[in-house]
Symmetry: C2
Subunit: 325 residues, 2 copies
Amino acid sequence: MPKISQKGQAMPESPIRKLVPFAEAAKKRGNKVFHLNIGQPDIKTPQVALDAVKNNTIEVLSYARSEGSEEYREKLAAYYKKHNINVTAEDIIITTGGSEALLFTLGSITDAGDEIIIPEPFYANYNGFSTANNTKVVPVISSIDDGFALPPIEEFEKLISPKTKAILICNPGNPTGYLYSKDEINKLKALVLKHDLFLVADEVYREFVYDDNKHNSVMSLDGLDQHAIMIDSVSKRYSMCGARIGCVVSKNKTFTQAILKFAQARLSSPTYALLASEAALETPQSYFDEVIEEYVDRRNILIEELNKIPNLKVSEPKGAFYCIS
Amino acid sequence: MPKISQKGQAMPESPIRKLVPFAEAAKKRGNKVFHLNIGQPDIKTPQVALDAVKNNTIEVLSYARSEGSEEYREKLAAYYKKHNINVTAEDIIITTGGSEALLFTLGSITDAGDEIIIPEPFYANYNGFSTANNTKVVPVISSIDDGFALPPIEEFEKLISPKTKAILICNPGNPTGYLYSKDEINKLKALVLKHDLFLVADEVYREFVYDDNKHNSVMSLDGLDQHAIMIDSVSKRYSMCGARIGCVVSKNKTFTQAILKFAQARLSSPTYALLASEAALETPQSYFDEVIEEYVDRRNILIEELNKIPNLKVSEPKGAFYCIS
């Protein structure tokens, strides 16, 4: 019998998706299942996005442009400007979810055996994308004792080798809920400039920041144009995980040209989802205000109740919608 | 400035997509452009698929199951049975296009430096997926003189090394239009059994077979359960390239379990497109009859006219919708 590759064997099973069959069996037994295992919001998708698909006039469901349409990328650039992220359509390549954005990024900046440093705990699928690309994940430990703040820069420096190509952060963090301060982001900036590394920031939870905190994007730092790479997705922002639309954003032209070649090989992102994602940019601010109010309420109840459990240590999320204990 | 990976540098630019900016510029100048460079049918997508999306009642656009829903895979298995392909839902993993099906397959059966043998000329993006996975493509030359028939098995055997993991064919062929005979498929079967290789068949043009020819799937061969892998897609069958839905089909459980792990890492295929693809299975036979009549007409006109050009050698496609000269 022909053999599976070492990579195929090494690919991790999703620790989250592993629970699906159990949940489905419980539902069949008539139990009500609360899915706390997966970042799938129950929040309604904005009506403007749903309507764009329901009212579509497509007759031939054609390929989209590999990098996404000019129009969509222009509108995205305008959206980013509102968030103090000064980019143009040319700096954006549309991807099939944040997942593909990360996969293409790893492919463009690491070869087999190259390393990326990631503060741990981190989103489980970073392991999957890294294994798929033969990239080695080097974790730097963050602690619940300070709410998963950025580990000391010396801890990063201890781990940097000639194989190190990038630092990857998730901000706000999945699963930590931690939001990096301006000071912490600046420390990372100094670090990657010193060692000439890429700084890759998964910022898909940008909108979900609580208690008057402010999000600091790696794309809003001066002097980091050649080093900063932002990963984004419409999945959580508009509660449309099933769209599978994301993007890679960078001002480093050599990098975005490499990403484009990966994008061309897979032809295009899904056309209906692109319609929904472009329309979603018209979502009114009131939608986000309500969603954030809802998430803050839920967080407060959850934290309050978890804190009643003896000997359970809980970190209070400043952003995203995860809680870790 | 941090460097792009060797892989990122080696990724090929799409020779097809490279033409897009020129076509767009010509359109802006007011010219009518006939896109002969890309496999994007102008045939209308089946109404039943378009309607499924227009009439959807989704309120929260959620992730789909990583491997595709049970229902869709059951229906697909029933569809394959009509084509003498005897598989069950368990043998099928839904992917985001045939592109992802190929990428996951290469990841599951080859490690860096491993080789796959492909009859040349072949679909240009096979190079892209291989580069993305550090897989080496070893071409075996087929010739226009016999219409791109299967090269002699001795030619394959000359190229087989300990690094060889699979033979990849496209049947009917993009871009050759060649359709492998039962005898040729059986020769490939004997070859992969002798050398214990995977036989990967990209069969996305299965429906487009002309002149009373018959398609022979690698999945309909006895004794090849552990070796045969079929790549499929809804893109051409239903003229819905923009859906980005495909699948990997195999009876080799170790292989499909590896594919599932790649699928879990990227979470799910696009939900709207899954709706369209599942509904497309209800497309009436009359749709295919009309499409095939149209393609045969177009082929005949094209071949007739090309043959009038002095010193131009043209091969007459038996399947798919490409013509090579």
